[in-house]
């Protein structure tokens, strides 16, 4: 994949959480002493590129900035400095336990999520049956999402993102959701999505097995910095040694 185009271009990305504790009028009245402004840098100067069609795995211990980075790539919040260029590709983020309006039914949530991902109403309706079938929730699809178990929640989320294909998929530790059967099904779907050479995927996972099987390259983040970036086996070996 030498002369391929680049899908994600991240340059010297820095994201910090700064004094963003919500402030309350009551608190500021009773605490005249100013609380110190805390700056926490989650991502510190990371640069990398992902080529079109590549599956990049991302590893690192908890709190090393993986999710923050995915969110930044998805455009949910802007970097404090640095640049993210997606070259006009559409992007969707798949993460645990988020994304639904609990009062609405599964069906309505599919429609709304799809439209938020930039599809038109017709496009989503066309693929609605496919999504419902893939999720395999049975009669629960017409019940409010608040009645779902966490497994069903994730199944629905995965199905929407998997069937409504965007150019770039960002997957945050959701490959191990659902029961064994759904896991197998989602794994197969991932394989199929990945075999499409126009699709770029970034996967965050703690499961070495999955990463080894899916990814072409691996990025190891440590405390918001790149510790290693390279071939999957090579990085995984070093990472496992470091973690043990």
């Amino acid at each position: 994949m030498t002369n391929q185009e680049i899908a994600i271009d991240v340059e010297d990305l820095r994201i910090s959480y700064r004094c963003l504790k919500a402030y309350s009028i009551k608190k500021s009245l009773f605490q005249l002493k100013k609380s110190k402004v805390e700056i926490y840098e989650a991502v510190r100067g990371v640069s990398f590129q992902v080529q079109k069609g590549e599956i990049l795995g991302m590893v690192g211990k908890n709190g090393s900035g993986k999710s923050t980075m995915l969110r930044a790539i998805a455009g949910i919040f802007s970097p404090d400095s640095g640049r993210i260029d997606l070259h006009g590709n559409s992007v969707s983020l798949l993460a645990i336990g988020v994304g639904f309006q609990k009062r609405l039914s599964g069906r309505e949530n599919i429609l709304l999520s799809g439209m938020l991902l930039g599809f038109t109403e017709e496009q989503v309706r066309e693929r609605m049956d496919e999504i419902i079938e893939f999720a395999g929730l049975g009669k629960f699809i017409d019940m409010p999402v608040k009645t779902y178990s966490s497994g069903m929640h994730s199944k629905l989320a995965f199905s929407i993102t998997a069937i409504l294909e965007s150019d770039i998929m960002l997957i945050d530790e959701v490959l191990s959701v659902g029961d064994t059967r759904f896991k197998r099904k989602s794994y197969r779907k991932m394989k199929q999505l990945i075999s499409d050479k126009d699709r770029t995927v970034v996967v965050v996972s703690h499961n070495s097995e999955t990463l080894r099987k899916l990814c072409t390259r691996l990025l190891w983040l440590h405390d918001g910095e790149i510790k290693m970036l390279g071939e999957t086996d090579e990085v995984l070996e070093a990472y496992e040694e470091f973690m043990s």
């Binding site: 963003l20 919500a22 309350s24 949910i76 988020v98 994304g99 609405l104 709304l112």
Partner: protein, 259 residues
Amino acid sequence: MKFFRDFKKYWDYTGCAARAELKSEVASSYLNWLWWILDPLLFMMVYTFIAEIIFNRSQPYFPVFVFIGLTMWNFFNKTVLGSVKIIKNNNAIVSKVYVPKFILVVQKMLVNGFKMCISFVLILFMMVLFKVPFTYKILYIIPILIVLVCISFGIANLMLHFGVFVEDLHNVMAVVLRLTFYMSGIFFSIMDRVPEPYNALLLKANPVAFLLNAGRGCMLYGETPSLKLLFLWAVLGILISVIALKTVYKYENSYVKVV
């Protein structure tokens, strides 16, 4: 301008989301849509009772007078108060995909606006029932409502922004809005009940009071609203909206970091 581009781009989504929200309100109980009608009707009775029986004060067509006031007030109140925690309540969406945050306010306004429309249909019925003479001046209600929407939108966006950073803004706003409620003359006429010279001042300086008064004037009493003031508040409404939108656009990507 970015606002109009985003507005167009997300319009379909906003419409769908608003429809889904209304539908879910109905779905949760069979009688719920009835509450869209019953709620203003019952409150109208409460305020009519208080004003006519207890304070022995009345206006021509008093129940309709109260109903128009309540309808417009409810729209403003629900939009503004609902926007304070709007980011927190929509955390599920906001933390998953990018959506211009003002879209959430628009969605809320569509929901409240729909209920306001139902109320206005009821008002027309009541006007027939109370034999209020219809004049062409009733059409002035359209620009009046547009100004109301504009002002609500601006204030709601400001609330959205500060609501993220100030935890107890909801409590503060509940009090402020209650004060505004009494200063807007929902169940009394400000002109007749508030002593001079404060009555005229209140009707000029409080946009809700002015719009309510103008709305009742044109619908019930065939009066032409002060077009100068209407225009002035329209300009101010747009100004507030522009400032609020600028602020929201500037900071919207850090909202997620707070919640």
